[in-house]
Amino acid sequence: MAVKTRSRRIGPPSTGTTQLASRRLDQGVARYYRLYELLSAALQDGTIAPKSALPSEPELCAQHALSRTTVRRALDRLEREGRIIRRRGSGTYARPHKAIPRFCFDLNALPETLAALASCTTATTLRFEPEGVPAHLRAIAADIGPTAYLLERLRCSRGEPLSLTRTYLPEAIGSRIRRPIPTRASVMMMLDRLGPPTTEVSCSVGAVPADAAAARLLEVPLGSPLLRVRAILTDDSRRLRAVLESLCRSDRLQLKMMEPQPRAGG
């Protein structure tokens, strides 16, 4: 499944250094796919409202500095997927989309969210074995030590992949986890059955391009945006229970959080 590459540069000359830099960083992902992904996101989140017109092909060429062939390739794909309708002599329109059910992950209601996740999704265990902990996770949770039990799971809802999670468990905890790993329980539920319950979860949320493994398992093209959630689970005595890193498809999983605001001056 080789991606065809073309060395010819298309579009108007770059005007500034920023653009030049971004051009170079753009190497490695097919151009049509970038446009496809943008339009796809706009159609899904309603930026391009159902039944409204998309920009014309020449407009898309100009806005994105792409050739007509590339623009057409992106539109062809959206048309094949039934997301747009092209009317000769009139234009291209967004099709009213069938609502894709998104799972709502609410950080403020973590126990409820995990219970709901456990009841309506399944997690397949891909790996469970002792493994070296990557340096970036050791940097945020030094207590984990250089090796830990790695539990890698792919979570799906009705066969559609939602997230890929790698959880590192300290050896003392990981060695007590019995196999087979249940497909319905969350990591926190499994851990809470074993000992002192998790009382604090520190999270960070970022965005990353899908690497080869994530792209294959989550069924997205290489380089697609994924939400990356890292979490550190600790118990009441602030002892580490687990460190995890989850890559989520944000078209299928909605991550929410409510932050109370400090009083003025706080």
């Binding site: 971004s22 446009l35 970022g206 945006p225 990356r228 959080m257 605001q261």
Partner: protein
């Protein structure tokens, strides 16, 4: 090539990109090597980001207001938040950390809140919208946030110095006053190599018991 089942030219393209990002070194006749973790911009994702939280004004940042105008309320806001009137104050800003762009943010303020606001007042608060509103008597009591990973559109890409389609961290935030009235709807596009949102959730006995009952 074998590992990923892709062609030679595709492999070269990927390596060329990593080289541009200064994450690998290619030595002729020897091989390709991972670089040591360099400056924050060259080894982004594993470095602690310079900013956290979305509500306040992060220290050491500057902002530039690129749009400040009253517009007809966009359809998506009328659908989601009926409290918006016919017109809305739109404020679009780029925020920088050490002169590097970190976030493109577009705020929509209901007429009730935005009508009396001036660009000069915003400048007086270093471009920070919620602190300015608080100073004018519209204190926000809560901030609901929704996170997504999206491909950068042309505006976000050019504002943040990214390629079109590169991943950005999107945060949609709704600030409400103590009476639960909407103060602002803000759409943030963060450069993911320069920002991640952080939060800590405490699981008290109350929440745990509730969950136990349900399961």
């Amino acid at each position: 090539m074998k590992d990923y089942a892709v062609s030679r030219s595709t492999v070269r393209r990927a390596l060329a990109r990593l080289e541009v990002e200064r994450r690998i070194v290619r030595k002729r006749g020897s091989g390709t090597y991972a670089r040591g973790q360099g400056s924050p911009t060259s080894a982004p994702s594993d470095q602690p980001p310079g900013l956290t939280g979305t509500a306040g004004v992060p220290a050491g940042t500057t902002s530039r207001t690129i749009v400040f105008e009253h517009v007809a309320t966009p359809a998506f806001l009328l659908d989601e938040q009926s409290a918006f009137g016919d017109t809305t104050l739109l404020i679009r800003q780029i925020r920088y950390l050490q002169r590097e762009p970190v976030v493109l943010q577009t705020a929509y303020l209901p007429q009730r809140v935005g009508a009396r606001l001036s660009r000069r007042q915003l400048k007086g608060k270093a471009g920070a919208i919620l602190p300015l509103l608080a100073a004018l008597g519209h204190r926000s009591a809560s901030l609901e946030q929704e996170f997504a990973a999206l491909p950068a559109d042309p505006l976000a890409a050019s504002s943040l110095g990214l390629a079109i389609g590169a991943p950005v961290l999107n945060v949609r935030a709704v600030a409400r006053d103590p009476q639960r009235r909407i103060l602002a709807y803000i759409n943030f596009f963060y450069r993911p190599d320069r920002y991640e949102a952080r939060t800590s959730v405490e699981l008290g006995d109350a929440t745990r018991q509730r969950a136990d009952r349900r399961s």
